[in-house]
């Protein structure tokens, strides 16, 4: 609203700020007056702080759960084969059932997350090694029925030879089911996922192993659960070790694994896995009737910790996609290094090629 009058002697009552230069501080109470340029150029700049990437559209429960269930199923199948071969019927039955249940649920989660669930079978209209999701769909198409036959023959108590063959076949495919999901998320432009592609598969199979070990400890009597207890340790070493390595190598891109909600989940998973995997080693020495209860609690803690890790990693990816710094800064550094190597000091030319 204009408050000034035009008179013969010039302007009267003109608002002093009409002469203001945009962005210049007038100094009143130290506050910056006037319009500020909305984007400052220079180091660490972005377009209004908006992310460079479009956010992952996957639901956390669906695809975070999918990652967890895939690991649980795959590692369960390996435990089942071991139990089958070493005559541990309860452990074998439980892990076979958990493999089938987990792979079934993971399929439900995957289909539920599709924008067009009725078109799920379009996944199988091509075979495409460049698409980890396509490879995974084929893998599950083979693995699911095999795990199903193993569990069904066991529960029905028929066809022992088929049961054994299916159990062993599922164990051969299981590790791939547990590790391919690492490629699935690493093969994206999401910085915290993509940059961690070297360690992610080890972390994922480790986390799958701790979950399956936890399930084995819950379901099987202590005299059968020895391998499950030791598997907890193997899984924890892989999961926590790979996770630590990854965070160290990623530098600033690892921040979402350390801070915020995702960081809290990752840390909780890490501590939970470490503590419960160690506890699993002594749980059979708990005296009296409480040993079984302790094993169940320990197994549950392993399963929960594994899930915390998965959801933490899933959310860390989303957090790293939401902040342009994680996309821009490593790329900027890479460019600068390349320019230094080339001995090219000029700033502008050839940026981004």
């Amino acid at each position: 609203m204009s408050t000034s009058d035009v008179t013969r002697d010039g302007l009267r009552g003109a608002h002093p700020e009409r002469e203001a230069t945009t962005g210049v501080a007038t100094g009143r109470r130290g506050r910056r007056r006037g319009e500020q340029p909305r984007v400052e150029a220079g180091a660490g700049s972005s377009y209004y702080g908006l992310p460079v990437l479009n956010q992952v559209t996957w639901e956390t429960t669906d695809i975070g759960g999918y990652l967890y269930l895939g690991g649980l199923a795959g590692a369960s199948s390996v435990l089942a084969a071991g139990a089958e071969l070493t005559d541990r019927p309860v452990l074998a039955r439980a892990t076979r059932a958990s493999a089938l249940g987990a792979v079934g649920l993971s399929l439900v989660a995957l289909i539920h997350d599709l924008g067009r669930p009725e078109r799920f079978l379009h996944m199988l209209r091509v075979a495409k090694p460049s698409s980890p999701m396509n490879v995974g769909s084929w893998l599950l198409t083979v693995y699911g029925p095999v795990a199903g036959v193993a569990a069904a023959a066991d529960i029905a108590g028929v066809l022992p030879r088929t049961r054994r063959a299916a159990t062993l076949a599922a164990a051969a495919l299981g590790p791939a089911v547990a590790s391919y999901t690492a490629v699935l998320i690493s093969d994206t432009a999401v910085p915290a996922w993509h940059d961690g592609y070297r360690e992610m598969p080890y972390l994922f199979v480790g986390s799958g192993a701790t979950a399956a070990a936890g399930l084995g400890m819950i379901a099987a009597p202590p005299y059968e659960a020895g391998p499950a207890r030791r598997t907890a340790l193997v899984g924890a070493v892989l999961e926590v070790g790979a996770g630590r390595l990854m965070q160290r190598r990623l530098g600033m891109v690892a921040e979402p694994y350390e801070h915020g909600r995702s960081g809290a989940l990752v840390r909780a998973g890490e501590i939970g896995t470490t503590v419960s995997a160690l506890a699993a080693q002594v749980v059979d020495r708990v005296p009296g009737g409480r040993g079984r209860a302790a094993a169940v609690a320990c197994g549950a803690a392993l399963m929960v910790s594994s899930a915390l890790t998965r959801f933490g990693i899933f959310l860390a990816g989303k957090a790293s996609a939401a902040d342009p710094r994680y996309t821009v800064e490593p790329q900027r550094r890479r460019l600068t290094e390349r320019r230094v190597e080339r001995g090219d000091g000029s700033g502008a030319e050839g940026a981004g090629g």
Binding site: A41, A348, A351
Partner: protein
């Protein structure tokens, strides 16, 4: 498994006798921020309206981001005009034209007869015409899908819905897409996205329907300053090189080409740009890399991890059977 066997994506995708690879050269130095491209794209492709941050209330379409109301590329924004206000000197824009009879001045009638399509090279002035340095500049740039030579969206699509056309462009087949959403985080530029009420992924098709019949894409057709230029990629690259050279000659040293280099992380963009500042200022990644470039290595790590866990669990069974160890 060779993922990128040939540098020519059209040949690599199995096309024979294909027409030349087509693309866009977006010269942001002449963009006036009119958003004709955004509007033409929406109209031609029948893209639903969408308010800020997904709200369908267009009255709330206010972002406080200069003149930007569409924020970025997505399922319902296939051309996006960015507005950047900077405290950086640029040539003063002198709007006065001499309208007299002086033969050295411009003939406004002749100019009018020529219509609005004055090529930048013949324009009396452009936003980058050098002059005394001002203290403020306003950058405008129309962003679009880059139609990458190595397109991660296409590589990761599990259904084969995304495909490479004979023009070297990357297009979603809407009758195939099952909305798995994999392409969304795969794109290193944040271009493709899922339309929530429809579930499928959408992005720029480089007007596949129009260019198939020899017409130019709607945005390029609508652009009044020829900031958006459409044509065979080779020609566009030559034109862009000439434009860059002339800008550097005229002292606009900030000018740089983005996505033009076939040796960059994505093998060069089918749609590339002339920018006046660092890419990240426009919301573009400074050194994007094809997401699937390391895929072979990823599979190798996954295979090793699988063998590791198999062996690791097997070892835990060493030491006999369950029954014998029963206490």
């Amino acid at each position: 498994m060779t993922i990128h066997p040939l540098p020519d994506p059209v040949v690599a995708s199995g096309w024979t006798d294909a027409p030349p690879r087509m693309g866009f050269f977006t010269d942001t130095s002449v963009c006036i921020g009119c958003k004709a491209c955004e509007v033409a794209c929406k109209e031609w492709n029948a893209i639903p309206a969408r308010g800020t941050e997904g709200s369908s209330d267009l009255a709330q379409d206010f972002t406080a981001m200069s003149m930007d109301n569409s924020m970025g590329l997505g399922a319902d924004t296939w051309r996006h005009v960015a507005f950047i206000e900077q405290r950086k000197p640029l040539g003063i824009q002198e709007p006065g034209q001499f309208h007299g009879d002086d033969p050295s001045g411009s003939d406004v009638l002749a100019l009018a007869a020529q219509g609005s399509g004055t090529p930048p090279s013949e324009a009396g002035m452009t936003p980058t015409t050098p002059g005394p340095a001002g203290e403020f500049r306003w950058l405008m740039a129309s962003d679009v899908c880059k139609h990458c030579t190595h397109a991660a969206c296409l590589d990761v699509c599990p259904t084969g819905s995304l495909f490479r056309t004979e023009f070297g462009t990357v297009v979603v087949q809407e009758d195939i897409c099952n909305g798995c959403g994999y392409c969304v985080p795969a794109c290193p530029y944040g271009v493709i996205d899922q339309r929530p009420e429809d579930g499928r992924a959408w992005k720029c098709t480089l007007c596949y329907d129009r260019i198939s019949v020899g017409a130019e894409p709607a945005c390029a057709k609508a652009c009044p300053t020829d900031s958006i230029q459409f044509g065979p990629l080779d020609e566009l690259r030559a034109r862009a090189d000439a434009r860059l050279a002339s800008m550097h000659e005229n002292g606009v040293t900030d000018a740089r080409l983005y996505g033009r280099d076939p040796d960059d992380g994505v093998g060069g963009d089918g749609a590339f740009f002339l920018l006046l500042d660092e890419p990240e200022v426009y919301g573009l990644p400074p050194d994007p890399v094809d997401t699937t470039r390391d895929l072979a290595s990823m599979w190798r790590h996954a295979a090793t991890a699988a063998v590791t866990v198999l062996a690791g669990i097997a070892v835990t069974f060493a030491g006999g059977s369950g029954r014998r160890s029963r206490r």
